[in-house]
Structure formats: C-alpha cells, structure tokens
C-alpha cells in the first residue's frame, strides 16, 4: 500500500508538523528582523554601560553553576550506580528531590539567611576594615546564587550520568575491574570519560536553566542577560530587548553545539545490550560518609528551603489570602495540564508520524521543534509578546481580543519552549518499539491513526508518562515566560511567589512556594517510577 492511500492522514500530520516548525521559525525570524531596526540612543546606552556587565555576569554565573552541579551530580551518580550500601535505594530517589524545588522559591528562603548575615558583615568590618567588608558584600550574592542554582539543578547531571553508569557502561566497568582498575582510579580513568556525553547532556540542561533564570538573579541583585532583556522590555525598548535576546541565543547555541558534539561520541561507547552492573558493597564507615556528603546538596536544594517555608507558613496561616492562592493554584494547574497535553500530543504526532508515514518533513519539523528548547525563555517571551502585540495593533478587532496579554500567547510560548521536553523521551521510547509491528499492521490494511493509537502509543505508554510529567513540571514551575506574557490580574503560583518575594513579603510567599513544591513532586512521580522500572 502506498503513502498515497494515506493522503488525508498524511496531510494532517504534515500540517501539524509545518505549523509547529513554522512557529519556531517565525519566532526566530521575527526577533532577528526586529533586532535589525534602529534602536536609537537606547542601544548605545546599553553598549556603553550595561552590555559588558550582562555578558560577564552571565558567563560567570553559568560557569559557577555548571561546576557546582557537576561536582555534586557526577560523583553522586557514580556512588549510587557503582556501590551497594544501606539506604542506597532511598538515596537514589532522594537525589532527584531538588528538581521539585523551583530555584526562585529556594531563593526566597535563602534571602532571609542572607539578610541574617548582617552581624557577620559587621564583624568583618570591625575586624578587617571597610574594604574587606565591601568585598564580602559583593561576593555573597554570587555565592548564594551559585549554591542555590547548583543545588536545585544538579539532578539533571545526576540523572543523565546515572543512566549511563547503570545501563550502558556495565561491560566497560566490569572489564576495568577485571584489569584491576576500580574505586576512584576507575572513576577517573573509566567512569569520567564514559560519562562525558551524559555530562554534556545534563550540563546543557543546567546551563540553559541558568541562562533562563530570572527569579534567583533578581532576588540577589545580579544583572545577567535575562534580567537585562526583561528590563529593556519593561522600559519599552523592544529592539534592545530583541538584540540582547539574540545575543543570549547565540551563547546558548554555542553551548548546545558543544554538547551535541560531545553527545555524538556516545555511539562509540554505548552498548547495545543494556544490562545491569554488579555493584560493589561499601563499608559502613564509607557508607556513612557517602550519606553525609549526599545529604548536603539535598539539604541545600530541598530540605532547608522546605523547612524555612513550613515555618513561615505556620507563622502566616492567619494572614493567608486563600482566595488569591487558590486562584493562582488553579491557574498554574490548568496551564500546566493544558500545555502538557498540547505538547505531548504534538510531539507524538511529530515523532510517531515521522515513523508511520516515513516522512522526512516530519523529521525536520521534529528537529526544528527541539531547537525551540534552545531558545532562551526571555527571547521566546519577548518574541511571542512582540508578535501578538503586533497582531493586536493591526486592527481594532484584534486589540479588543487583548491578545497581547492572554492565555493564548502564553500557551504558544509554552508550546515553542517545551516541545523538546516531550519529543526526546518519546523518541527514546519509540526506539524500543520495533518498526516491523507497524509495517505488519500496514500490510494488513490498518490506517495511520490505527497504527498510532493501537500499536505505537500503547507500547510507548511509559514514555508518554515521562514526557507528560516533565512537560507538566517544567510549565508548572515556569516563571520567566509567564511573567511577561500572562494576562493582567492573572497569577500563577510561580508569579505569585515571585511577586510576594519581590515585595519583601517573604513569609507570605511560603504558601505558593510550598504548593509548587508539592505539586511538582506529584508531577515527578511518573519519572521516579520510570527510574524504578529501569533499575531498582
């Protein structure tokens, strides 16, 4: 049976692919085109006074957070994958907990600690003089920002390295043990080189999240590129905002190109037979040390902020604006559920459609949609904002629809930004489904929708859960896009927590903050179950 018999389905699948890819290309094109307009004196002011600061702060923060996340995540994955010790199974899951803590929520909790360090600063001034006092004050926000971001983002590196160590590198490790290379020697000579693609993949996510962060850097007064883009946008200097966004995109693209280059080496190290590795038992003394070390990042990235927020919640229960909080929670849930469904369904159309219809066009659409993830959030925000504002201004009819600040614009932005989060797990899940099943069904006369719903999707069900869970949690925690594009008087838990923190009402921010953590944890359950299914 030829593709021509599947004309209707083919058109629908291809149209979806074209729409998705078109959105990403339109967004990038719009930003580039807008950035070429005359920015007047505003760009000159930025060039002279702010651009260098934005650049070095962005690169310094990204380097610091990458190193921090690497130092925590990689050894943790190694120890959990390679060794047996009491509570290992629990630790394996505990290390993922910080993923449920949005960085900017943790920042609110740590602001209180930073403010509480005043006696220390006063002691520095009285002991070492004014210059030491000023220097300590300058570096403390950096220390806090890097620690918070490292402690909440290291699970990306931990998870990607864990997958390599547990599944794909068993042969290499067992051979190295037979040859007498084990322990830390094995880590540096075998584990580290094998983990390079995983470090690149996880590190790429860490860097993208750091570039996109707005809540943490604004809480501690840093002026990286993302707050710079926000500031230009808020001041009405859209061309400046577009240029800064393009610059951030270039930096992110370079990073991701390096990551792709590193990940490309995976084909030389991965084993087709993924079998579990036999673990080496740790002595009790060493196991205690491992537990102590592992708890530090989990405490910093999850437990301490939770405890602070619980204390604040207890103190402010009588002050809570329940209506406002529940309204924000409802908005967060409905946006996250809606976006997750939209993103997963679209990703399924692209991924499964590319295979079922053998469509090169859908494969290209897939690649372009994945590129949407590499677009900085601030760029997606100002790009979508500019597009919908221009449509609003093109006629009175559109102005009345208030497109410029509406859920529609927000959903478009989520769609562009988070497609990759669903495409990648679905692609990985699809590789486990033999192509021959679909071909057999086709020969027996089944239509593409039938193959889609009766064969491919049921066999990929776990991958759907993972994709939906990741998309849900990402959208649920999302702050940058939502701050710019949300309708007026429309708060999500994320924007509410940010606003209350920004207004200095740290204790009142505890309820929306904790709500986000609890709901993110629920959203992570499918991911954790998938981890458990792969390896116990």
């Amino acid at each position: 049976m030829k593709n021509g018999d599947w004309r209707a389905e083919s058109v629908l699948f291809r149209a979806t692919g074209a729409l998705l890819a078109g959105l990403v290309l339109l967004l990038v094109g719009w930003v580039i085109f807008s950035a070429m307009a005359n920015a007047g004196g505003a760009w000159r002011d930025v060039l002279e006074n702010r651009l260098l600061g934005h650049l070095w702060q962005t690169l310094l923060l990204a380097s610091g957070v990458f190193c921090g996340a690497l130092v925590i995540g990689l050894p943790a994955a190694w120890l959990v994958a390679m060794h047996d010790f009491v509570g290992r199974g629990i630790m394996r899951w505990l290390m993922v907990l910080p993923l449920a803590m949005p960085s900017f929520v943790a920042a609110g909790a740590y602001l209180e600690i930073l403010n509480g360090m005043i006696p220390f600063y006063v002691w520095v001034r009285s002991s070492f003089g004014i210059e030491a006092f000023l220097w300590v004050q300058k570096i403390m926000p950096w220390v806090f920002s890097i620690v918070i971001l490292s402690a909440t983002l290291f699970p990306y590196i931990y998870l990607s390295c864990l997958a390599i160590f547990e599944r794909q590198a068993a042969d290499a490790f067992e051979v190295s043990r037979l040859l007498g290379v084990s322990g830390w020697n094995g880590f540096f000579r075998v584990g580290l080189p094998l983990a390079r693609p995983a470090i690149a993949a996880g590190g790429g996510l860490v860097l993208m999240e750091t570039f996109n962060d707005y809540g943490v850097v604004s809480a501690f007064g840093l002026t990286t590129l993302t707050p710079g883009i926000f500031r230009a946008w808020a001041e009405g200097e859209w061309i400046v905002a577009m240029r800064l966004a393009l610059l951030l995109m270039v930096i992110a693209s370079v990073i991701l190109a390096v990551e792709k280059f590193q990940s490309g080496r995976k084909r030389f190290v991965s084993s087709d037979t993924e079998r579990p590795l036999a673990r080496v038992p740790l002595r009790h003394r060493n196991a205690s040390g491992v537990w102590l070390l592992a708890m530090v990042p989990v405490a910093l990235g999850f437990l301490l902020p939770c405890m602070q927020m619980l204390e604040w919640l207890w103190l402010t229960l009588h002050l809570l604006d329940w209506q406002g909080h529940f309204s924000a929670a409802w908005h967060s849930l409905s946006l996250a559920l809606g976006a997750a469904l939209l993103v997963v369904l679209s990703a399924a159309i692209l991924v499964v459609g590319a295979r079922v219809l053998r469509s090169g066009m859908l494969k290209h659409a897939q690649a372009i949609s994945i590129a949407g993830y590499s677009l900085p959030s601030a760029m997606v925000a100002v790009g979508v904002g500019a597009i919908v504002t221009s449509i609003s201004q093109s006629s009175q009819l559109f102005a009345g629809l208030a497109l410029s600040a509406s859920v529609t614009g927000l959903m478009l932005a989520y769609w562009v930004r988070f497609m990759a989060v669903a495409v990648q797990p679905l692609s990985a899940g699809l590789t486990k489904v033999p192509e021959t099943l679909g071909e057999a069904a086709r020969m027996l006369g089944e239509r593409p929708w039938g193959i889609f719903f009766k064969i491919e999707i049921p066999l990929m069900w776990p991958a759907f859960f993972v994709a939906a869970a990741l998309a849900f949690v990402d959208v649920f925690k999302e702050l940058t896009l939502t701050l710019v594009l949300r309708p007026f008087d429309f708060e999500t838990l994320a924007t509410r927590a940010y606003r209350l923190t920004d207004e200095g009402r740290l204790a009142e921010a505890a309820f929306p903050g904790l709500s986000m953590v609890v709901l993110s944890l629920l959203g992570l359950i499918p991911l954790l179950r998938w981890m458990g299914r792969i390896r116990a």
């Binding site: 004014i130 007064g221 559920l337 809606g338 609003s392 410029s404 007026f488 200095g504």
Partner: protein, 340 residues
C-alpha cells in the same frame, strides 16, 4: 486537548466581553498599588455607592504599555500609579482625559496636580533619609548631597536604580541641579554603598537598624509601616532609627505622589470622577494616613500621630513638575554611575 483549547478560547472571549461591557455597575482600575488599605478603600466605595470595582494590578510601565496597545478597546476607567513622572508620561501620550470638579480642585494642592486635570494626587510620600539614632548625630545629615561625602563611604544603603522612587529622585536632582551634578551625586552615592542594592526600602531600614550601614534612602511611609508593624522585631528596628527630610530650607524635600487619572476612552466618566473624589475625601485621607503612613495631599498631619511626630515638610516644587521629562536621563545616569 480540544476541550482545553476551547476553554482558553472561551476565556479569551469572556475577557473580551468583560472588557467591552458597558454595564454601569463596574469600574475597572489599572493600579500599581498593592496594599490591603487599597482593598479597604475600594470596598468602602462600593458600600457607599453600589459601584463595583475590578482592579488589575501590575507595574506602572506595564499598565501604560497595556493602555497604549488596547487603545479605544481598553476596559480601563482609571489609572493609578505611585509616580508622578509616569502619570505625566501617560498624560503626554494622550492616555488620560481631563476632568475638573470643584471638589477635586479644593481638595488637592495646585502645585502637585496636573494643570489640565488629567491626573489628581491622593497621597504624598517624601523620599527621605533614615539614619541610625546611635551612630548619626542630629544635624550630621541635612541634604541629599551630604550622603555623597567621602566620610560616608561604606555607610549608605539604597534600593535598586530600577525602582521608580529612585528614578524620580534622580530626575528631581537633574531638574534642580543639572545633569552633571546629578551624575556626580549618583557616582558618589555608589562609592558610599555598604552593599550592592538589594531588596526594597524596608530592607534598607532594617539593615541600618541592624548595623550594616548608618543611613539609607527611603520613602517616608515605609518607616511608618515598620513602626506600625505587627512584628515586634520590625517595630524595634523602626524605633532605633529616625527620619530626616532633606533639603529643608534649601528647596525642599523631593516628594512624589500616588495619583489617579481617568483613561482617555473610559465609558464611565461620572463613576470614575466619583471615585477620584472619594480618594480625596477625609475618610480615605485619614485611612491612608493611619494605615500606610502616607501623607494626606493637603498635609493634614493631625490625621496620624506618626506624621505629627515628623512635623511639617517643605516639599520641592521646582523639580516635581519636571519629573516625567527627566526620567530617561535619570535611567541613563544611573547606568553610567554603576548604580544597579
């Protein structure tokens, strides 16, 4: 998925319908203010007039951009900001319409309102200097320029330059002393910072009380809010500092306003006018004086013991009308000075 998409289309349609409603019972306000007292004021207005109030809160720049985009389709009836400069800009862009009544004229100072009646102030706030009682002698600081002296290195705090309060302060400095002197002042203040700007005005006051610095720039009412705080630690911090109103007898302290104006395309002008007059009523002026420690527009200090303790303030009248004109320059000078 289709149902979700339909729901969002429906939501957008409902927003459109809500926006285009010509019902007389709802006044739509775009406001930068976010205090509980404002909710109380609105509830009182509804109770007394039967007119419902729907408030959309956001930063002034976003509200103004929104009005610009919406044009004649805007549902907003009233714009409220906490910065005269932004109201001046909104008026200059034609986003507000003039409204003048005898009540409004008789209950607001001429020098602090728009000449054409496009916006009316309803609270005043002085940008003063709070100092530690035990570390700063009386008379040691009397002007904004005193804070810039070298002996204050590492002893001064302020919030970020992106705050509209600081931008208005520097715009006032440009209007009264010129760009060059304002630039020198900003650079000197940055040299004297005890830490890079972080937090709001209340954080600066608490940091001064804790000993991190000896002086900070702050709006007057923030000290009042701390003095009235339910938190004993905040009250203690507020009692260990005192407020200075700079430049008394030398042109006056820079003051700003919370102001309200009727939007250019409002379909509910009579209701909006009633609201503006309500904001200037004695009941509401007393409420702001006692609950948020903002000065009443006619400087009725007897409304609040805290305001009485601060005494009468000579307000700058030269720079105030030019705040909007110098905002852009202020932002540029802050960047050049490295004031984050």
């Amino acid at each position: 998925m289709l149902r979700f998409k339909f729901n969002y289309v429906l939501l957008s349609c409902l927003m459109l319908c809500g926006g285009m409603s010509h019902g007389e019972e709802v006044l739509h306000i775009y406001s930068h203010r976010h205090y509980k007292t404002d909710e109380k004021v609105n509830a009182l207005f509804t109770e007394q007039t039967g007119i419902q109030i729907k408030v959309v809160q956001a930063e002034a720049d976003q509200l103004i951009a929104r009005l610009r985009t919406e044009g004649a389709a805007s549902p907003a009836d009233v714009l409220i900001t906490v910065d005269a400069g932004r109201m001046q800009r909104a008026a200059a862009e034609g986003l507000l319409q003039p409204v003048v009544t005898d009540f409004l004229k008789n209950h607001s100072p001429e020098a602090m309102r728009d000449a054409e009646g496009k916006w009316w102030p309803f609270t005043l706030r002085a940008r003063g200097i709070v100092v530690a009682k035990d570390r700063v002698k009386v008379g040691e600081i009397s002007t904004y320029q005193d804070l810039a002296k070298p002996e204050w290195r590492g002893r001064v705090l302020s919030r970020s330059s992106t705050s509209s309060y600081n931008q208005a302060l520097l715009a006032y400095m440009i209007a009264t002393h010129g760009e060059e002197k304002a630039s020198e002042w900003a650079k000197a203040i940055v040299e004297n910072f005890a830490r890079p700007p972080q937090g709001g005005d209340r954080d600066q006051i608490k940091a001064v009380a804790a000993g991190l610095a000896d002086a900070c720039l702050t709006n007057s009412y923030y000290l009042g809010l701390l003095l009235n705080s339910p938190d004993p630690a905040e009250r203690k911090a507020a009692e260990s500092v005192r407020m200075i109103f700079p430049n008394q007898g030398a042109g006056g302290t820079h003051c700003n306003v919370s102001a309200a104006g009727i939007t250019a395309h409002s379909q509910r002008v009579p209701q909006a006018t009633r609201y503006l007059e309500f904001l200037l009523s004695e009941q509401v002026q007393r409420l702001y004086a006692t609950e948020t420690s903002e000065h009443p527009v006619m400087m009725n200090l007897d409304y609040s013991p805290i305001l009485q303790s601060w005494g009468k303030i000579e307000m700058d009248m030269v720079g105030f009308p030019q705040l909007g004109k110098h905002m852009e320059a202020a932002s540029r000078l802050f960047d050049q000075a490295g004031w984050k």
